[in-house]
């Protein structure tokens, strides 16, 4: 057992492995820490901040923070939940998210997280930004209205597909997801089978002609909240 790293999350003893982040160790232990930009196949990015926890009292993003022996992590506290709700609401008002018309509905991690956190309507004013849709590619569509700037596509294209299709341009509230071409997605070497396409957590990058292959009501988060798969591990361990 000498190569494990013992620490606690909300008082529960967790064993991390060397090189693991708090988020990874929590996943293994069956403790769900909400996240949007983090993805198990990608290196940590730390942009959505939804996974913010307190480590020995100090705020840190669980997806980028390596676990260390004896650290005391707070995750499911009223204060942190309130901040997470705030962050998710910010993402909703920042873009144009009309869930009822979105083909990602039910499979969307942003929507699912909002449900899990009990958000009925954002408390912040909608910004109604003017963003564009690029449907030039034969098989893939980008709807920037729904982009949450998580950089999953940027990282996946670069690290998993060995390409460089996506990157950000602009800064601050003018930051946008952009492509490796003058204007149109069709002028990049993106392929519909690229990891960058399927890894989008929201309805910003979509495969064409597949929107309703799975009917609403039978989708990923239609029956149980996001994070249930992770929590099921702990429940199973407790039963054994």
């Amino acid at each position: 057992m000498s190569d494990t790293i013992p620490f606690t999350i909300d008082g529960v003893a967790v064993e991390g492995r060397p090189g693991q982040t708090i988020l990874q160790a929590a996943d293994d232990a069956g403790i769900y820490i909400p996240r949007l930009c983090a993805h198990k196949e990608l290196h940590p990015f730390g942009s959505c901040r939804v996974c913010t926890v307190k480590v020995n009292g100090r705020p840190q993003s669980a997806c980028t923070m390596p676990c260390a022996k004896g650290m005391v992590v707070e995750n499911n506290t009223p204060e942190l939940l309130e901040h997470r709700r705030g962050l998710v609401e910010m993402l909703f008002v920042e873009g144009n998210h009309y869930c009822m018309f979105c083909e990602k509905s039910g499979n969307c991690e942003l929507q699912a997280l909002a449900y899990r956190l009990g958000i009925m309507a954002p408390r912040y004013p909608f910004q109604f930004p003017d963003r564009n849709v690029d449907a030039s590619h034969p098989d893939v569509l980008i709807d920037r209205n729904r982009c949450i700037l998580c950089a999953r596509c940027v990282r996946a294209s670069h690290d998993l597909d060995g390409k460089n299709v996506f990157q950000f341009v602009g800064r601050g509230s003018k930051k946008r997801i952009w492509i490796n071409a003058e204007a149109k997605l069709k002028d990049t070497n993106l392929d519909v089978t690229d990891k960058a396409v399927e890894i989008c957590p929201v309805g910003a990058i979509l495969k064409k002609r597949q929107g309703y292959a799975v009917p609403v009501g039978q989708r990923l988060y239609d029956h149980q909240p996001i994070g249930s798969d992770i929590e099921a591990k702990r429940a199973a361990a407790a039963q054994a």
Binding site: P44, F45, G46, S47, C48, R49, V50, T52, P59, S61, T64, M65, P66, E82, H83, G86, L87, M90, L91, V93, E94, R123, Y124, P125, Q127, I148, L149, N164, F166, Q167, F168, V169, G170, R171, G172, S173, K174, K175, W178, I179, N180, A181, E182
Partner: protein, 604 residues
């Protein structure tokens, strides 16, 4: 081959087709061709072997870089609250009238562009502007008209320089109208040191002894965070890696801060001496001075001083004849981005990337510039280092207060008789400083710039030091006629403009804070808005990824803490349950236009 293609190939070759020198490459391309056009993006990407969108990502990040053609002359008006207080509004209108365009536009003949830019570090001589690289200060409406006439006539901003400033501002390599406004000299920074004297003393010791001396002096970083310099050096020295880097942070972007400008103008030797000492202590051969784009006018002088030091054996191979110690410094010019003062963004920028901060850990001392252990310190910190090695750590530790040894430079501006730079021992009371600068009647003081704290008279007896009122050096003074809520709005506008946009709370939350403050200023606030502001400010502060977002809500929190009655007077309790931000007539307007008749709105 087109002229553009040839030019870009040449420029990229000058920087060894090295994509980590992207900042230099795109700045050179823009200087030669007016902008980094779409074609240029492709050509640069090809030359250095990267994707076009990577180049575009960098170019689109920095305020001073552009992919669209602008005027040959770009007039950048300082948008800081101080400039506004001293008449920038009418000055901007005078520029607009004389040019026949609005701010944000270019004259139809493509000659002159007029823009706003964030604080340019000239608050002691506001209102001010930068025209290409030329700084113009103490602007008035008359001066604005004269400037436009001169630019129309000669097309050369350097012709605008009439009376030269003091000290090195008048140096043939600078020729600037900027004034130093050094108002109070202390024993540490604003004192004379013969070049090389501290460095020779350091080189007579072992690197570990030098670090020990810096630790003994208890020197803490002068850039704001106050981290012990000796500890940072020790970590960097002990980190694994052959190649180590010393960086000087001369980004000085915090509105109201201009003390590094004065050091760079008058005491650059002291700074470079400190950097060389750091290089020796850490085991670095390379130093980088990250100079904010706004201070480009000083670059020829700084390059010259570096050359003089090389010629004198104080830089380059075997510094001062010390076997095995080679050290040199290059200047990296920024391009208009406050966040690049944050040390990991600064490193990203030096690497040719957009100025996004990096995730920590690893810290720069472990993995910094191009993955090498890197120590970043402020300009003033290096000056202290040189003095500590010259006079001894004990001498230094005796000055100032217990937790904050040494002196501190304060950049003082706003409503006071004598704006300028003051060197005080740490621990000086705010009230003493206000007396000295001629501002005893101050109604509010912003200590530490927008990311610091806005305090009122109840706090004037507190002392300026790390453990009490901490500051990177900016002191901005407001008299009783200023509207503190408006000041906060200006600061939020600054943060919205300068957020890198990487993380949600800072990118979105600051916009929301600004909108709510504007609602309140326009009489659309309700008492519930104070709780809304508090909660939102906390979320931004707690969850933001870097120091920018972690401090950007401070003006709002200061307002809630120290100026609550001012806010309460602005928000009106609602008689009914309706949202005061909702204007039913405006909401119905477009529909009414469409159907061609007025709706009947029930008013009880």
């Amino acid at each position: 081959m087109s002229e553009l293609e040839q030019g870009i190939r040449q420029i990229c070759a000058t920087f060894h087709n090295d994509k980590s020198r992207m900042m230099d490459i795109v700045q050179a391309v823009q200087a030669r061709f007016g902008c980094v056009s779409s074609v240029a993006l492709d050509l640069i990407a090809k030359a250095v072997g990267t994707a076009r969108v990577e180049v575009e990502s960098t170019v689109s990040f920095y305020t001073f870089l552009t992919d669209q053609p602008k005027g040959k002359i770009v007039i950048r008006l300082c948008s800081d609250v101080i400039d506004e207080m001293f008449g920038m509004g009418p000055v901007a209108r005078a520029f607009e009238d004389a040019l026949g365009i609005k701010v944000g536009q270019t004259t139809p003949d493509g000659a002159i562009t007029l823009e706003w830019t964030a604080c340019i570090g000239m608050c002691d001589q506001a209102p001010a502007a930068i025209i290409n690289d030329t700084v113009v200060t103490y602007l008035s409406t008359d001066k604005a008209r004269e400037i436009v006439a001169e630019l129309r006539k000669s097309g050369d901003p350097r012709k605008l320089v009439h009376r030269l400033g003091d000290g090195h501002n008048a140096h043939p390599l600078v020729r600037s109208m900027v004034h130093n406004s050094i108002r109070r000299k202390g024993p540490v920074v604003f004192a004379d040191l013969p070049p090389g004297s501290a460095l020779r003393k350091a080189l007579a010791m072992s690197p570990v002894e030098v670090i020990r001396d810096v630790k003994t002096s208890r020197l803490r970083g002068r850039g704001g965070a106050g981290f012990p310099a000796g500890m940072k050096w020790e970590f960097t020295r002990q980190s694994e890696g052959e190649r180590k880097i010393v960086i000087c942070n001369a980004d000085e972007g915090e509105p109201g801060t201009f003390k590094d400008r004065v050091i760079l103008t008058e005491y650059a030797d002291l700074l470079f001496e400190g950097m060389a000492i750091a290089g020796y202590a850490i085991g670095a051969k390379e130093g980088i001075l990250y100079l904010r784009g706004e201070y480009a006018y000083m670059r020829p002088l700084l390059d010259h001083i570096l050359q003089v030091r090389r010629d004198a054996g104080l830089l380059g191979r075997e510094v001062c004849g010390k076997r095995g110690f080679d050290f040199d410094i290059r200047i990296q010019l920024g391009a208009g981005a406050y966040v690049c003062g944050e040390e990991t963004s600064l490193i990203s920028s030096c690497e040719g990337l957009r100025g996004d901060p990096k995730n920590r850990p690893p810290f720069p001392a472990q993995k910094g510039y191009l993955g090498c252990p890197t120590s970043v310190n402020n300009v003033e910190t290096y000056c202290c280092v040189a003095r500590i090695l010259d006079r001894g750590p004990g001498w230094f530790a005796e000055i100032g207060s217990k937790g904050s040894p040494g002196t501190k430079l304060f950049s003082v501006s706003g409503d006071c008789a004598s704006p300028g730079v003051y060197e005080y021992p740490f621990g000086v009371k705010l009230i003493e400083l206000l007396r000295d600068v001629g501002a005893e009647d101050a109604a509010a003081v912003q200590v530490g710039g927008p990311s610091g704290h806005l305090v009122g008279p109840a706090d004037y007896n507190r002392s300026l030091e790390y453990d009490d009122l901490a500051t990177g050096g900016s002191i901005v003074i407001f008299n009783k006629d200023r509207n503190v809520v408006h000041v906060v709005r200006k600061y939020l506008e600054f943060f919205v403009e300068e957020s890198c946009g990487y993380c949600t709370p800072c990118r979105v939350g600051n916009v929301l804070l600004l909108q709510k403050i504007e609602d309140i200023l326009h009489g659309r606030g309700t008492p519930a808005d104070l709780a809304y502001l508090e909660q939102l400010a906390k979320t931004v502060k707690v969850t933001s990824r870097c120091g920018l977002g972690q401090t950007s809500p401070n003006p709002v929190l200061s307002l809630l803490k120290s100026f609550r009655p001012v806010l309460e007077a602005l928000v009106k309790p609602q008689a009914d349950e309706f949202l005061p931000t909702f204007d039913i007539r405006a909401a119905l307007g477009s529909t009414e236009d469409l159907i061609g008749r007025k709706s009947v709105v029930f008013t009880p």
